[in-house]
Subunit: 312 residues, 2 copies
Amino acid sequence: MYLALTGGVGGAKLALGLAHVLSPDELVFMANTGDDFSHFGLHICPDLDTLMYTLCGEANPDSGWGRQSETWQFMGALRAFGGEDWFKLGDRDLATHLVRTQRLNEGATLTEVTRDLCRHLGIEHEVYPMSDDPVPTIVETADGELPFQHYFVRDRCAPSVTGFRFDGIETARPSEPIMQLVSEGRIDGVVICPSNPFVSVDPMLHLPGMRGALEASGAPVVAVSPIVGGRAIKGPTAKMMRELRLPTTAVEVARHYGGLLDGFVLDACDQHLVAEIEAMGCRAIATQSVMVTLEDRIGLARDTLKFLETFK
Amino acid sequence: MYLALTGGVGGAKLALGLAHVLSPDELVFMANTGDDFSHFGLHICPDLDTLMYTLCGEANPDSGWGRQSETWQFMGALRAFGGEDWFKLGDRDLATHLVRTQRLNEGATLTEVTRDLCRHLGIEHEVYPMSDDPVPTIVETADGELPFQHYFVRDRCAPSVTGFRFDGIETARPSEPIMQLVSEGRIDGVVICPSNPFVSVDPMLHLPGMRGALEASGAPVVAVSPIVGGRAIKGPTAKMMRELRLPTTAVEVARHYGGLLDGFVLDACDQHLVAEIEAMGCRAIATQSVMVTLEDRIGLARDTLKFLETFK
């Protein structure tokens, strides 16, 4: 069984590819919830939702987030009230947040609610939030601290980043079902999807015991680079690296994950970086990693899994 | 200045008529909030919303509740999740609840939020919730206690009613702006709109100090009967009266309000009840009170106000 760690849009693309190649018995997902936030009293999980909508074919193909065939009557009425409209909530998307909020208010865990939402969406693979405890990502910027969605959506990643904080992570418990699979030696390989290392993957790896459990399990860990040709396919990864005065290269991403990694998947255009990464003690391959079509997603999934097989 | 006390659909019809006849300097509204409830984490005020939507011409003319030109994408998605769909939340209506919930969570009072919502809806008359404190109506039935909306909407008023309770009313503070107008002698007359006496009007009158302040002010109080020809135009008033073993007549409504009333407005078809009501020490008139058109609403408002004038 394989474990895939993923954030939002970019990671979800590979997640879909993996779900096409591996059965629900062979693959489980763990999603970042550091970007969860409360808005209008609703519990919103943007990364988790993007993963769910992507896996069930409900994702909006144009925006990358939200639901397809979405309508915006709510947002129009909200604007007429002068309501905060920086976070776009589609009419159909709202149902996800309201059902989740109600279930959480009734005492269910995010793991339980997510399982239920996935079942209704027809998703057969297990999708686990990284934790049932809130671990809100705080973006430290030159202008002060910002909750993640305020930085990411409201301020369009404009503030210059100086660091990140995951509020409450010291006492947060990592996903119990995932920790159990890992500790029982049932995970044969781990894929870190091409998500933002700082705000999508780090919250998962920094959960108490998570990184240590993965390392102790002996399962090979392979990450797919979100940086291609020195740029991020989607999102602020490259911009963050510049602001943190890090080289904006795939090598730096591999360095960021450090000793956890057994292998690293580069894009074909970064073939010349293979040697540099392997010098760090981490094997690397270069392949077509820009995912435009479903075939691209499946192709990258196959290449990544084939690479993982070589570590056995 | 006149004060109109109102619940939902029936009361809101007369409220609209009054708003056509009297300027914002001459008329203020106080609405029942005993039917407020929390659903999916949202603070929903059905009576208040019906009043607001009615006053700004946004009310759905067919259902009597909700917004016109409403869409139901959210409800469709909610059903797909197996979510609770007994309370219909339109896509546009949701904006009202989310803005209200957010503002309340930020610490605003319901009075402040309502003023803001009304302003954005273009309502010029002041609309006051009866209290900023929650006073949830509990319906006591043969099958046990039910929160009001569960009784009213989910169970379609099917359970047999044995009584009512307004949770927390002992310590709830009645609307401060209304109490101030009343105590300063600025209210020249009070209209109790044709709303359900038990679950729409009683919560307002039972607020600590409210009834006493109205009586002490000396302003004449006139109620319009929600019972016409022994039946309720809309809603469960007559059914409740039967279950409470009360005669289902307009006379009984007048008796219910008791000494508070100076006058009572009957429908023309109940002309024969005038003498019986006047024998109770309360003057009565009979007029066309069934409101189908806007002209009906304005006509009843004029008749009611003319009647109120006779008490000066």
